[in-house]
Amino acid sequence: MTELEPRRISDRTSRRRFMAATGTLGGAAALAACGGATGGGGGQSDSGDLVGVGNNGQAGTGRSGDGADQLFIAGFQWGPPTNFNTFAGAPAWPASSNVAQYVYETLLRFHIVSGELLPGLAASHEITGNESISLTLQEGITWHDGSEFTVDDVLYTFELGKIDPGLGIASFWTEVDEMTAEGSTINISLNTERKNVGAVLAQLAQQFIVPKAVFEKAAEETGNKVASWETDEAIGTGPFTLELADQTQVILARNEDYWGEDFYGALPAMTKIIHPIFKSNEDGNLKFQNGELDVMQQFVPQISKMWDSGKPVGTYLQEEPYFVPGSMPMFLMNTTKPGLDDAAVRKALAHAVDYASIAETAMSGYSSQVLASLVIPDGAEDQWIDRDKADSDGWTFDAAKAETLLQEAGYAKGDDGFYAKDGEKLGPWKLITPQGWTDWNAALEIVAKNFQAIGVDAATNFPQEAQTSTAIQNGDFDMACWYVAGTNPSTPWQRFSDVMSNVEMVDLGQTAYRNFGRWENAEVNDLLEVAAAAPDDASKKEAITALDDLYRVEVPAFPLMYRPDEFFEFNASNWSNWPTEDNDYAPPMFRGAGNEWIFQLKKIGA
C-alpha cells in the first residue's frame, strides 16, 4: 500500500488530492473505489521505516501537487494580519515576538528540553561569571533584501530600547550597563548591582534582530515612537520571506539565499509555510485532524482520540501528558484580604485543591502531577528542583488535612458551614480568570467546588481578558488564575521573582508587574538577589532551594497544573521525521531551537 498509493495519486491535480485528504479513512477509501474521476485515496498506512510519525505509528501517503512541498501551520495568528512591525503592540505572525524564527531570528536559541542555549545569529556565547557575556556573530549573514547583516544591526536592535523606552526591549537596559562591539564580537557588561545573567540571556534568546536601516527610518518617521510604526513588510535574516498576508492566510516563501544553509545543513524542506487564519480552535482542529494542517499550536481536547481513530497525529511524548511542561498557571491569592493574609489559610487552601481532577478533566490529561515548588520538575528546569523537599514540606490534595490546618489556625465552622475566625468569614471570594480561557475556566470551577467542600466560600467569575488583567495588576481581586514566566533561560529565578518579589511593591489600585497578590516578606528580596547573582550552578541550586523553602512555608500562590510552553502537535500526513522523544534532534517547540525541524522534515509522498 505504501508503495502503490503515492504513485497512483501523484498524477492527480493537487486540488483533488487535497480534497481527498480531508475525507475520513472510510470516505476516502470509498472515493478511491469510485475511480479516477473522484480523485485519489487519502488513506493512512503503516509508516514502515519512517520515524517521527503519528503516535499510533501511522503516516499518511503525502499530498500531491504544490501541497506536497508546503507546510501548513496554525495556532499563531487569529485576526487579519495588519502590521508586521515586530515592536508593535500586537504584530502579526511571524513578526510577533518570541515566535518561530522563520522570518526574523534571534542571537541565541533556547532548547526547552535540555535547557541549553544553542547558537543562532551568534555562533557562540561566553559568560564570564555574573559580570559579562560576549557573543560572536555568524559569518555571511544577509538580510532578505540582500544587504549585509552587521553588528550594528544587533546593537541598534537593543539600542531601540533606549530610543523608545516604551518598548519591551527597554527592560534589557535595567539588567545591562553597556553593550559594545569589537569586530564581529559583542560584549555585554551586566548591571553591577543586579548581576542577573539569566534575565539577560532570556532577552538575547527572545529578541528578534531587526535591520538598522529599516528601523532607523521608522524611528525617524514616527518621532521615535517605534511601536506605532506600521508596515506590511518584514525584512529579516530568516529562512523564509513574507510572501503574502491577507484576511485568510499568511504565506512565507523559502529564502533560497538563506545564510544558514551550511549551519543547519540544508535549506528548509518545504518551499512554503502557509498559516491559514481560522475563526476558532474548532475550525483548525478539524483541519488538523484531517491532515490539512501539518503542525499547530492549538489546544485540542483529548488529542489521543485522533490517533486512536487512526489519524497519523503525534506529539513529542507518546504517553500522557504528551506535551513537555513549560509553564505553570498560578493560583494567585490577594494577601491583603483578611483571611488570605494568613499563611496557614493559604496552605490549607493549597491542600484543598484536587489537582489530579484538574489535570485529568480541565487539562485533558496534559499535566503531570503538580509538585509544591515554583520549579517545573521536567525539561530545562529539572536540574534546579529539590524533589524531596517538595514532597516532604509541600502539599497534596487532602481535604481533611485542609480542614485540620484551618482549625489549628483558630478557625471554626459557623452555622452557614463556612470557616471563620473572630467574626471574619473565609469568603465569599471571587475566583477570576479571562472568559474563554477554557482550561483555566474549568480549573477554577473545580477549585471553587473544592473550596466550598471544605467550608470556604468561593465562586467563579470570568470577565473579559483586559478587565481580568487590569484587576489582577491593580490588586483588585480575591483570587485568580494567572500566568507567570514560562520556561526560558531566566527561569526558575524569573518565576520566583514574578510570584514573590518585594521589589518596587506598589499599593492596591496601582499597576504591579509582579507579586500581584501583594505578599510581603522581609527576606525574599535578599534571597532573590543571591539567586540571580549566583556565580555557579551549585550555589544557584542552593539559592533556588532556599527560595523554594520560603515559598512552601508562606504559599503566596500555588500552581494548579503544568502546561506546555507551546502545544506542539503534528499530523504526519505529508511530512515525517517530526521531533519526538525517540527522535529528539529538535525540541517540541516552534520558537527558539524549534526552528531546527523545518530543515529536517521528510516529505512522505513521491
Binding site: N281, E282, N285, L286, Q289, V300, P301, Q302, K305, D354, S357, E360, T361, A362, S364, G365, K430, Q435, G436, T438, N441, A442, E445, I446, A448, K449, Q452, A459, T460, N461, F462, P463, Q464
Partner: protein, 335 residues
Amino acid sequence: MSTVNSSMAEETAAPRANTLRSFNFSARFWVSLVLVAFVIAMGLFGLVYPTGPGEKVGSLYDAPGNGLLLGTDNFGHDVLAVLMAGTRTSLIIGLVAGTVATTIGVSVGLLAGYVGGWFEELLMGVTNVVLAIPSIVVLILISMSLPESTIWSLAIVIGITSWPWTARAVRAQASSVATREHIDVARLSGARLPGILLKDVLPYILSYAVMAFVLQVAGAILAEAALSMLGLGPSGANSLGTQLHWALAFQAVASGAWWAFLPPTIVLTLVSFGFLLLQASLDEVFNPRLRRGKRKQMKQAAARRAEEARSLAQHRTVDASTVSPPDRTRAGGPS
C-alpha cells in the same frame, strides 16, 4: 356589551354534564401538558437522584455505559445528574423571569391603556424605545457588568429586558376595555384607579396575561440558555445553558461526545416547544374563535347545547321562565 352579560348568564344558566368538557381542551393541549409535566418532573427527580451534579464519577467525556445513562461531561460529572439540576435551574429562571416580565409588562400596559393621554404616550414611548433595542444586546451588557452572577440576578435581568411586548399588547387590550360601560359605572360609583385596574380591567385581559406569561417563561428559558452559552451564566450553578457552554468550550461536537451537548439541547427544545404549544392551546381555550379543526366535534357540541337549551326552554316555559327567544338561539353554539 349586553351580549357579553347575557351569554354569561346563559353559561351559568345552562347546566353541564361535564365541566372539563366545556373547556374543549384540544389534543395539542394534552401533548403540551405532557411535555411540560415531563420536563418539570425531570427537574424535580434530580432532587432524589443518587448522584449529585457536582460529584466526579468519571473522566473527561466518558461514553454512556457503566451505569451512567448519559456518560460524563468535561468535569467527569454524570451528565444525567447535571441535566436534571440544569433543568431545575432553567425552570426556576424561566418562572422568576416570566413573573418579573409579566408583572412589569401588565402594569405598564394597564396604566398606559387605561389612563391614556400624555401618560400613555410617555409609557408607550419608553416601551417602544426599549422594544427597539435588541434585548439580547442589553442582556449581555447588563450581565457582563454585574459583579456577581447568580440564578436570581440572571432571572431578574432577563425579566426586566423582556417586558416591552407584553406591555404593548396589554395596553391595546386595556384601552379597549377602558371604553366599556362597566368602567364608567365603576368610576361613577367612586372606585379609585388601582381598584378599577385590578377589579374591572385586569380580569378582562387575564386570559391574555396568562398566555403572555407562558410565552415569557419559554422566552426566558431560551434567553438564559443563550446567555449561559456565551459564558455569562450563573456561576457555581448548573443550567441547560451552562451545560451547553462547557460542551462547546471543551469541543464536545468535534470530539464526538454527543452525550454532552445533545441532552441539554433536546430538553431545551422540549421545554420551549412545550410552553409554546401550551400557550397556543390555551389561546384556543380562552378564545373560541381560534379553535381549529374538529368541525365535527364543534357541530356535535353545538347540537348538544342546542338540545340542552331547548329542553331548558321547554322546562322554563312550563315554569313561566323569562328567557327571551333571541338569546335562546344565541346559546346554539360558539358561532
